[in-house]
Amino acid sequence: MSYRALFGWLSPWVFIPSLLVAPVFQILLFVYIGRSAQLESDEFYVIGNAIQYAAIPCLFAMTHLIAGERFQQTLGYILITPAKRLPLFLGRALPVVANGFFVAAFALVVGGTIVGMEVPAGAWAPIALVTAVSAFSCTGLGFVNAGLGLVVRETAVLSNIIFGLLLVFTGANVPIDDLPGWMQAVSEVIPFTHGIEAVRQLVDGVPLADVWGLIGTEALIGVVYGAAGYALIRAMEVVGRRHATLDRA
């Protein structure tokens, strides 16, 4: 987890395996802990961790984009162009969402195959949709993270902490109902919680129509975080110009 901020110069032949192998092992880790603790089914952990792991590309890639620009000292240059900010950042966000989607989908398929997860034929498309929406909502959070990253020096610490929080609060490994009240409240307003629940239901055979609410909430969360993050980045841009911290490496 440590130096992903530097992964820009890594060869894809090394980067891609490391991005795809880790989630599978995270799934295996919790599947086995689950078997040891004898709580939920294997599928519970496969779905939870596959989706949750999308946080890695979504958080880190987004932060890296911004922090990386700052590191290469191009952020200042970009921010002074008259280009419209919103399309600029959205354009950069799209590949990140795609990245998150692929990682989660890959982990879901591989993990599911290993434990023998049975998925109703018609559920695959909706599952893909939910996965994409989940990746989108976490990318929104990634925007906030990136914005904070403009102020904080150790951006990787922040990203890792958010990853940890998502591990604990999203119901990836612990059913939401088993969490204390205040934690449940937090779960409701963060990415992945609703997406994970939706996929679990879809795998159980629940029709798409019944999970639209969850999908909608997940998407909304993404939009809210994305907007907040965008506002934060613009605000930091102003602060950075005032205090000349835009290019602090």
Binding site: M1, S2, Y3, R4, L6, F7, L10, S11, V14, F15, P17, S18, V21, A22, F25, Q26, L28, L29, F30, Y32, I33, G34, R35, S36, A37, L39, E154, A156, V157, N160, I161, F163, G164, L165, L167, V168, N173, V174, D178, L179
Partner: protein, 256 residues
């Protein structure tokens, strides 16, 4: 004597650098807590306190491997970046004596995360740490640290040769957590996994610590962990000369 001085000074200075890095210390201490918390929730279901203590100790040791595997690769990448790797190779001292104390230092930092995890478990989840044989417990910890540091040394030897290997190092965090049985009894794994677990020092380290706390004989486990550690160092030294020669041929000691 000279060897001991070099090992000692190398360890001390590496510890100084790690302490002074907010990234390493903060993350090393906080990150394992998330996994521990999830494990505690998962094991909390029953009334028997033993699984929780089992999980607490396991989660505590996870931090030692976590800091070693991620820091080993990152440290070498950083040294390459900072131009110090070349200087170390250019020095007449044996590179193994330079590299080993650094990975042991990384594992030593893991003690902080071990302490924080046990404290967290106690404060938040009420997991009482009862230690059956304190002496074995106190000795099992450095034995685990040193043998994990030795495993880190073996990894680092690979990183010297291959510039981008550190990313693969990150990949090893989960697999070792899984296969060493920190949170999962080895009996749950398919038979073919067992030998892999046995070759990993962390497996014996956590066994030793658990036996010392929960009742059982830790001494054989401590012995095996240290023996494996010595084995890793031996293999590492053999490979190191070839790795360094290759690095000098292919010019991978520096960035350019």
């Amino acid at each position: 004597m000279r060897t001991l001085r070099l090992l000692g000074l190398g360890w001390l200075l590496q510890m100084k650098m790690l302490w002074r890095s907010t990234f390493n210390t903060l993350l090393g201490v906080i990150y394992p807590l998330f996994f521990a918390t999830v494990a505690f929730f998962m094991f909390q279901a029953g009334d028997d306190p033993k699984p929780l203590l089992y999980a607490s100790l396991g989660a505590a040791v996870m931090g030692i491997w976590g800091t070693t595997s991620t820091a080993a690769g990152a440290s070498l990448a950083q040294q390459r970046w900072h131009g110090t790797l070349e200087l170390l190779v250019a020095a007449p001292a044996s590179f193994a004596l330079i590299l080993l104390p650094t990975t042991i230092a990384m594992a030593s930092i893991g003690i902080y995360s071990m302490a924080s995890t046990l404290l967290w478990g106690w404060l938040v989840f009420g997991i009482e740490l009862t230690i059956d044989s304190p002496l074995a417990f106190v000795l099992a910890i450095p034995a685990t640290v040193v043998s994990i540091g030795a495993l880190g040394f073996l990894l680092a030897v690979a990183f010297v040769r291959f510039r981008q290997a550190w990313a693969l190092g990150n990949m090893l965090e989960y697999p070792v957590w899984l296969v060493s049985g920190f949170l999962v009894p080895l009996a749950l794994f398919p038979g073919w996994v067992r030998p892999i677990s046995w070759v990993l020092a962390p497996t014996w380290g956590i066994n030793a610590i658990r036996d010392a706390a929960l009742g059982g004989s830790a001494w054989p486990d401590i012995a095996v962990a240290l023996a494996l550690g010595a084995g890793y160092v031996g293999i590492g030294i053999l490979l190191l000369n070839r790795a360094l020669y290759a690095a000098r041929s292919k010019a991978t000691l520096a960035l350019s």
